[in-house]
């Protein structure tokens, strides 16, 4: 026998408990709050929703519920007026969600009752399309994409590591990207520095990278710092950023950044490369180890050949630079396990990834309790001038 809409609602009411606004407000404030799922359409959600609610449009409820709530969770569904959520609740019951309820009167009554609600910052329709493969990932979602758009990442070097890192961070929608590099594009860079092009040889690397980023993603604001980072400018430059990606090509800059990131308490995403070998880690100041817990002192120049002297496989830069982009995104979103506390060592010839444990050194000259953190003459220090040369004793 055919059933009308009213018949369906009546049947749902017989089966599904309806929660009143006041009761829901109390339960949300309690320790054991139910999972609150808003089943309305995107445009309705964008105009405001109950704080703490998760948005799963009605049409996706069955396919996405497993990522949001378990069958034995307390679940409350909310829509605009309390009808769609009531019907949707029956479907969840069929799927084994025993403790599912519906908010009587929906979000409209919630708002009219004077309860708090939030109007979310939202993606534009163009952004929703551009970042759809991100927002589909539960760990990112629209909230994560908005975080990326609000994030500010500084790349030290727009070269082998900085090219892929900047390109992917720009594609990912990191809203502000700073490029610190005082070098110009050379033909010998193009084997690996993929953000530059043949017709931009001779241009400042930071300007060249800016052109590529703006062509890729107009959402990104690019700041050009066409200067060599030094102890006089580093704190001013990094102050405007949330995360620093170290793609420097020399030890003085790496140790300067290590000290500056501790002083400014900014996460430092590290990678270095030579020939077929890459290292990567993440240094979160005073939470995990720092660069100097790992390498207290730089090697002398004769044991530290540059890529200009020893060479580097172009593709290796892509692998390591993208690992940096990946880690920067995780730091921004606060998801997953970063490389903090681990050094990833990649051997491209053997195709092996190995991990070494990096622990906070209680006597660390950078982040230890007795460390006297101040800038030094990094060029002289890394050249071995005036460096104390005593060996390590356990």
């Amino acid at each position: 026998m055919a059933q009308t809409y009213q018949d369906l609602l009546a049947a749902a009411r017989a089966e599904i408990r309806e929660v009143q606004v006041d009761e829901l407000a109390q339960r949300l404030a309690a320790a054991q709050a139910p999972v609150l799922i808003d089943v309305r359409e995107q445009s309705e959600w964008d105009e405001g929703h109950v704080p703490g609610a998760v948005h799963v449009p009605r049409g996706y409820l069955e396919s996405r519920i497993a990522g949001v709530a378990a069958p034995d969770d307390q679940v409350v569904l909310v829509c605009a007026g309390g009808m769609r959520s009531l019907l949707a609740a029956r479907n969840l019951r069929e799927m084994g969600y025993e403790h599912v309820e519906s908010l009587a009167g929906g979000f409209t009554r919630w708002k009219q009752s004077g309860q708090d609600y939030v109007v979310p910052q939202t993606l534009t329709p163009q952004q929703r399309s551009r970042y759809s493969r991100h927002t589909l990932i539960p760990e990112v979602g629209e909230a994560g994409q908005l975080k990326l758009l609000g994030a500010r990442v500084l790349l030290i070097g727009a070269g082998g590591l900085g090219s892929p890192a900047a390109y992917y961070l720009a594609a990912a929608g990191v809203g502000t990207i700073g490029l610190a590099d005082d070098d110009v594009v050379d033909a010998s860079n193009l084997q690996r520095q993929i953000i530059h092009t043949t017709d931009r040889v001779g241009m400042l690397k930071a300007e060249s990278a800016k052109i590529a980023i703006e062509a890729l993603n107009p959402d990104v604001k690019v700041n050009v710092h066409a200067t060599r980072i030094n102890r006089d400018n580093v704190l001013d430059i990094i102050a405007g950023y949330d995360v620093i990606v170290d793609g420097a090509d020399n030890f003085p800059t790496r140790y300067l950044l290590a000290d500056a990131s501790l002083m400014a308490r900014k996460p430092l995403v590290h990678a270095s490369i030579l020939r077929f070998e890459g290292h990567a880690s993440v240094f979160i100041p005073y939470d995990g180890p720092c660069y100097r817990c790992l390498f207290p002192e730089p090697p002398p120049p004769d044991l530290a050949p540059s890529c200009g002297e020893a060479g580097v496989l172009g593709v290796l830069c892509g692998v390591m630079g993208n690992i940096q982009a990946n880690e920067a995104i995780k730091v921004i979103l606060g998801i997953g396990e970063t490389l903090s506390g681990r050094l990833l060592v990649y051997d491209a010839l053997g195709m092996e990834f190995n991990e070494l444990k990096v622990r906070r050194d209680p006597n660390c000259p950078g982040c230890g309790p007795d460390a006297q953190l101040e800038f030094r003459d990094y060029d002289a220090w890394c050249a071995g001038i005036g460096r104390h040369t005593e060996a390590v004793h356990a």
């Binding site: 070097g157 070098d183 050379d186 790992l294 004793h393």
Partner: protein, 94 residues
């Protein structure tokens, strides 16, 4: 025999090998055996006063020996000893 993994900057000193097998039951013994077989390695890892340079990290498997018993850290045949100097490489050729 334990396995010693050789970083790129030291491979010339061991005839280009990425790994070499050497005997020894402590880090110190393994390194001495390595130096005997490849004297150039000693020159790059050890200072004039005979101590291992501060900029060289040594790991037994994945643990830094600085946080264990330093050169007395035991090494078995199943262990891998890794020599790891810092690398600077990144942006550009100087």
């Amino acid at each position: 025999m334990s396995t010693v993994r050789v970083p790129p900057v030291l491979r010339a000193a061991v005839g280009g090998a990425r790994e070499v097998s050497v005997p020894g039951s402590t880090v110190s013994e393994v390194l001495e055996a390595l130096y005997s077989a490849h004297p150039e390695v000693r020159a790059q890892l050890v200072s004039d006063d005979g101590e291992l340079h501060r900029f060289v990290n040594i790991y037994v498997n994945d643990e830094d020996v600085r946080l264990q018993d330093w050169l007395d850290t035991p090494v078995s045949d199943a262990d891998t000893l890794l020599i790891l100097p810092a690398m600077a490489g990144g942006a550009t050729a100087q």
